[in-house]
């Protein structure tokens, strides 16, 4: 029972890297097992199916990220919340993912992005069942920080913000190359989150436009 755990970890580490690079559907089990240096059938033996492997990969990150987020949210002041403060709560939990893997934060955001853009319904269900409470807390904090907005407007903008983040991370690689060429910017993907936060905060909290039409 030592060789087994070793095999599981080799599979997971190869899978999360390849999933984050190419997406879930575009990554085959043959590719994963080849990179991991294990037999093709061992994925199904240890994780049951490809879906099982995907969930195992996500679980490693969520189980670190979500509790850390909960802790951050509870440390927030009860009054005079700002959107920037709430957004800032997401950063330490993200950074905590380095304990899962050196480049854990980027990996996790990219995995999330693919989970959304590909139709991974089972992931959404699993996440909501397992961590729904934290997510609702987060929403409540945004509401407290944006009492000037109607509930439906805030709803849409939070999803816009989520979309912005995920899309940015997924296309970060390509964009970084362009940016580097155009602006001699040596910016590693690492700091995209810093570029993102002001944009998100301004977008979320923008004044409610007059209802036209």
């Amino acid at each position: 029972m030592k060789k087994a755990a070793q095999t599981c970890e080799r599979i997971i580490r190869a899978a999360e890297r390849l999933f984050a690079e190419q997406g879930f559907e575009a990554t085959s089990l043959r590719e994963i097992t080849q990179v991991a240096g294990v037999n093709l059938a061992s994925v199904n033996y240890h994780f049951g199916s490809k879906k099982g492997l995907i969930q195992a990969v996500m679980e490693r990150y969520q189980s670190v990220f979500m509790p850390a987020l909960q802790q951050q949210l509870q440390a927030l002041p009860a009054t005079n919340l700002t959107t920037e403060q709430v957004l800032a709560c997401l950063v330490p939990p993200l950074n905590a993912l380095t304990q899962v893997r050196q480049d854990g934060p980027e990996i996790y955001l990219r995995l999330l992005g693919f989970a959304y853009s590909e139709i991974q319904g089972h992931l959404r269900r699993y996440t909501m069942n397992r961590f729904g409470e934290v997510i609702h807390q987060l929403f409540a904090c945004f509401e407290a920080a944006n009492s000037h907005l109607s509930a439906d407007t805030l709803f849409w903008r939070l999803h816009f913000a989520l979309g912005t983040t995920l899309f940015a991370q997924v296309s970060a690689q390509a964009l970084s190359e362009i940016a580097r060429a155009d602006f001699q910017e040596a910016d590693p993907e690492h700091h995209i989150i810093e570029r993102l936060l002001p944009y998100l905060a301004a977008g979320i909290s923008a004044a409610e436009p007059p209802r036209m039409k």
Copy 2:
């Protein structure tokens, strides 16, 4: 030479609908030809390959959208540009896509979204070769409207904004359902663009944050 054109159009109309619903990779030629009521092999006969069909589908929209955008940009005032004004330039060209198809605007945005999130490198190259000039004009207008921002900050924010738009459109269907359940909102996807513009404008033009670190 009449039956042929008919077949091509049946294929294209079925393809653009299915591509917009499911993405390019997730839509098989067998599904397309079945919906179109034509033979499987006719796609390869008329368009050479699946890639060829994808490009033909996009071309129909780009060839309407891009010239219309160029026209809008040239009608812009030379001084005192605002981000809202530039963003507003995108709306009429989008609406012009109804001449391609009734639900053309939504279809086009969703196709764009999938073209970005799936790795359709050939589409990116083709678009830049064919319409690079208009796109650079658009960037220049945003620069004129945001002289308070550094070039690299604006570059990132414009891509964030593009990402927000595409992601929103791709996930609009799912979000609309949730929104409808939570807020009794009878909002068809049609008006997402109106919800989007204030968010985008505020995000793009947000004050440059002090360079930390």
